[in-house]
C-alpha cells in the first residue's frame, strides 16, 4: 500500500510530467491550428480543447488521436497543486513564486469553468422589437408548442442532440410520442416541383410533402451555417398523426389535436430571461466609402418582469451591458437593414477569473523579481563595503 501511495505521489509531483504535459500542450495547439482550416474556430475548440480525448473520424470510426485540452489541462492542474503541497514550503523568499503559481492555478480552473459553463448566444432585434430570449449560435431545438391559449405558449423544447435517427421521445406534457424517422445535421431544401426525379417524401403532413430535403455535408466555415432538418412522426394515443419535415429553414407548422392548437418548429435553441430587451435605436457610422463599421451602438430599454428595473442602456463596442449574469455585447448588424442590431449574449459566471489570475501572476512575478533584486543589491553593497 505504501508503494502505491509513493508511486502515486511521485507520478503527480514529477517535473518530468510537467515538461511532457507542456510539450503535449504546445503540440496540441499546433495540430489544432492546422485542423482549424477544416473545422473553423468553434469546431476545433470542441474537438481539441474542450475534450478529454481528441477523436478523429477515420473511415467512419472515431479513433482517439491525441489527449484533449481537458485532459492535459486537468493533469497540469493536478501536477501543479500536488507539487505545491509536496515540495514548496511557505517562506518569504518564495512568496512570489507561490503567488505566481496560485495565479496559474486560478487561470487553469477559470478556463475549465468557462469551457463547462460558458454559453454564447445572439439576440437579433429590429428597432421597436422586444425580446426576452436569446438564440444559440450552435445548437437547435425542436419546439412543440401548445398555442391554444391566446396569450401564452406552452413550449416543449427537444434539443437537436436527442433527435437521432429512430429515436422515440416521450414527454409527459405531450399527448403524442415523437419518433425521429430521419435526421440530417445539414440539409438543402428545394421545392418538389423543381426536382422532378426526387424520391417520395417521408413527410405525410405539412409543407414537407412539397419539399425535397437533400442531406449535405456539415460545414464549418465561418460565414456558413448548418441548416439541420428532420422527418418527425407524431404518434398519438390512437395511432400515427402524420410525419412532418422540420427544418431551421421552415416556418412553424400547425395542426390540431384533441381541441388544442399545436405548432412544430425547428429553431435555434432559445434561452429565456425574466426581463425584456427592446431595441429603441440602432446607429452606426461607416468609414467613408466603405461598408466597414466605424462604430455602432444600440440604445436598448431593459425591463424586468417584476417592474423593479426599467432603464435605458447604450451598448457599444467595449461597453457591454452586464445584467443578471449575462453580458450583452454589440456584436454585429444586418448590412441589408439599417435598423437591425445583433447582440452577442454571453453567460460566463467565471469571467472574472482570468483577470484575477493575471493580477496574481503580475503581483507574484513583481514580488519574486523584487526579492531577487533586493538580495542582489544588498549583496553588491556588502561587496562594495568590503572592498
Amino acid at each position: 500500500m505504501r508503494n502505491v501511495i509513493k508511486s502515486f505521489v511521485e507520478f503527480f509531483v514529477s517535473l518530468k510530467l510537467t515538461v511532457v504535459l507542456l510539450a503535449l500542450s504546445a503540440l496540441m495547439v499546433f495540430f489544432a491550428t492546422l485542423d482549424q482550416t477544416q473545422l473553423g474556430v468553434w469546431g476545433i475548440q470542441h474537438k481539441w480543447f474542450q475534450s478529454l480525448i481528441v477523436l478523429q473520424n477515420i473511415k467512419g470510426l472515431p479513433i482517439p488521436i491525441f489527449p484533449g485540452g481537458y485532459f492535459l489541462g486537468g493533469l497540469l492542474l493536478i501536477n501543479l497543486v500536488s507539487a505545491h503541497i509536496y515540495r514548496f514550503k511557505l517562506s518569504w523568499k518564495k512568496s512570489g513564486i507561490f503567488i505566481t503559481h496560485a495565479g496559474l492555478i486560478v487561470l487553469l480552473v477559470g478556463e475549465l469553468l468557462s469551457g463547462v459553463v460558458q454559453r454564447e448566444s445572439t439576440m437579433k432585434l429590429d428597432e421597436g422589437d422586444t425580446k426576452n430570449y436569446s438564440e444559440s449560435t450552435h445548437y437547435n431545438e425542436l419546439a412543440i408548442i401548445d398555442a391554444t391559449d391566446p396569450e401564452f405558449d406552452n413550449v416543449v423544447a427537444i434539443p437537436d442532440a436527442l433527435l437521432t435517427n429512430d429515436a422515440s421521445l416521450q414527454y409527459a406534457k405531450l399527448p403524442f410520442r415523437v419518433v425521429v424517422k430521419a435526421f440530417y445535421p445539414n440539409a438543402f431544401l428545394q421545392m418538389r416541383n423543381q426536382v422532378p426525379n426526387a424520391p417520395d417524401s417521408l413527410a405525410t403532413m405539412g409543407v414537407g410533402t412539397q419539399v425535397v430535403a437533400t442531406p449535405m455535408p456539415l460545414t464549418y466555415k465561418e460565414n456558413e451555417a448548418n441548416e439541420p432538418a428532420a422527418f418527425i412522426e407524431l404518434i398519438g394515443r390512437e395511432g400515427p398523426l402524420g410525419t412532418y419535415l422540420v427544418s431551421t429553414q421552415l416556418r412553424p407548422q400547425s395542426f390540431e389535436l384533441e381541441g388544442k392548437k399545436w405548432q412544430l418548429v425547428f429553431r435555434p435553441e432559445r434561452y429565456y430571461t425574466h426581463y425584456t430587451v427592446t431595441l429603441e435605436k440602432f446607429s452606426h457610422d461607416r468609414y467613408a466609402g466603405t461598408d466597414i463599421a466605424k462604430n455602432f451602438s444600440s440604445k436598448v430599454r431593459l425591463q424586468t418582469d417584476d417592474g423593479h428595473t426599467d432603464r435605458e442602456v447604450l451598448i457599444y463596442m467595449n461597453n457591454p451591458l452586464r445584467f443578471d449574469g449575462l453580458t450583452y455585447y454589440q456584436a454585429s448588424f444586418d448590412p441589408s437593414n439599417e435598423h437591425n442590431t445583433v447582440l452577442q449574449v454571453v453567460k460566463n459566471p467565471s469571467w472574472i477569473l482570468p483577470y484575477v489570475a493575471c493580477a496574481m501572476l503580475f503581483t507574484g512575478l513583481i514580488i519574486q523579481f523584487g526579492i531577487s533584486l533586493i538580495a542582489f543589491a544588498s549583496k553588491r553593497r556588502r561587496q562594495n563595503a568590503h572592498a
Binding site: 508503494n3 502505491v4 508511486s7 502515486f8 507520478f11 503527480f12 478529454l52 481537458y70 485532459f71 486537468g74 493536478i78 475549465l112 469551457g115 463547462v116 429590429d126 421597436g128 426576452n132 396569450e151 401564452f152 405558449d153 406552452n154 413550449v155 416543449v156 423544447a157 434539443p159 442532440a161 436527442l162 421521445l169 414527454y171 438543402f188 431544401l189 428545394q190 416541383n193 423543381q194 422532378p196 426525379n197 412539397q210 419539399v211 460545414t219 466555415k221 460565414n223 456558413e224 451555417a225 441548416e227 398519438g236 390512437e238 400515427p240 398523426l241 429553414q249 421552415l250 416556418r251 390540431e256 384533441e258 429565456y272 454585429s332 448588424f333 444586418d334 448590412p335 441589408s336 437593414n337
Partner: protein, 363 residues
Amino acid sequence: MSTHRLQFLLATLTLLTFAGCRDPKITSYRVRKEAPPKMPLVSSEGNAPQLHFKAPNGWSEQPAGSVRVASFAISGTDGRKADMSVTQFPGDVGGDLANVNRWRGQIQLAPLNEADLPKEVHEQDFPAGHFSLIDMVSDKPVIEGKYHSRILGAWLKQPDRTWFFKLSGDADLVAAQKSAFEDFLKSLTISAPTVTDSALGGTTNSDVSTSSGVAASGADTGAGAHTVTWIAPTTWSAKPLGAMRKGSFSVHSDGGEADLSIISFPGDAGGVAENLNRWRGQIQLATLDAAALAASSSTIANGNLRFTVVDYSGTTASGPTRLIGAILPLDNETYFFKLMGPESTVSQNKQAFMDFLKTVQVR
C-alpha cells in the same frame, strides 16, 4: 510506465470525465406569445385595395397575420373546427388549375387535369365582382384520422391581383356554414387602391424582397445578407414567394407557362459546378465534369456582378423543357435565377431574362 502509474492515470481520466459534458434534456416552459412578424409576405400597404365585409354570426375574427388579409375561426359541436381565410396575391398566382390543385393537395385529393377543371368550378356574380367557386371534400378522413375535411373556395380576379376566400375544416361543419360563406361573399366590397402602381413600368421586388425574413433561407437570418433588387418585365406576373423563394414569377406565352424562380443560399451552396449539375438533373440531362460545364456556360457582367449563365434543353414529365439559369455568387451567399418551362416560352423570353439580369442590383 508502471502498472500503478497507469492506474492513477485512468483514475484521473475518470474524474476529469465529469467536466465538460453537455447534458441534453427535454425542457418545458410557458412564455407569452410573440408579436407576429412585422413584415407582411405581400405588402398590404400603399397600393393595396381595402377589403370590407360583414362577418356572419358565429364567425370569430382572428388576427390577420403575415399572409392573411382576414381570418376567422368557426367552432362546431364536439370541438370540431373550421377556418376561413382571405388572402390576396399579385397576378393570377399560377392560374386556376394550379390554385385548385394546391387546395386539393391540402385535403389529400389527387390533382385535377385541365379538362376536368371546368366541371368542378362554377362561376357566380356577387356585388364585389365575378367569382369562381369550388367545393371539395376529402375522400379520406384526414382530420385526426377520424373526420373528412372540406374546402369551400372562391376567388376573384382583378387586373393586377387575385383574392382567395377559403373556408376549410371538418366536412360537416363546413357544409353547415355554406350559406354563411355565400352571405360573406355577398357582403364583400373592395375599395380602390389609394396609390397607383409603380411608375417604373415594371414590377419591382421592393414589396416582396423585404418579406423574405420569413425563414426562407439562412441568408436572411444572419448578419451579412445582401439586399438584392431587380425589375421584372411587365409581361411576367409575380407569384407568392413560398418558403424558399426570394422572387417568383410566372412567364406566359402560347407555348404554356414557364416559371422564374429566384432563391439564395448561404455560402457557395456547394459550388457552381454542383449546382449546374443539379439543374441538369432537373431536366434529365447527364452530369458533366468541370471542364464540360465551363464550356457549357458563359459569364455575363452587370457592373461588378458576374453571372454564370447556362441554357440547357432537356425533358421533364411535362415534355421538352428548357432551362436558362444564372448563378450570382456574392461574398457570403449565392443567388440562383432560373427560368424553366416549355421550350417555346423560354426561347421567347430568353432576351427578357438576359435584360432582367442587367437590372439586378446588390446593396
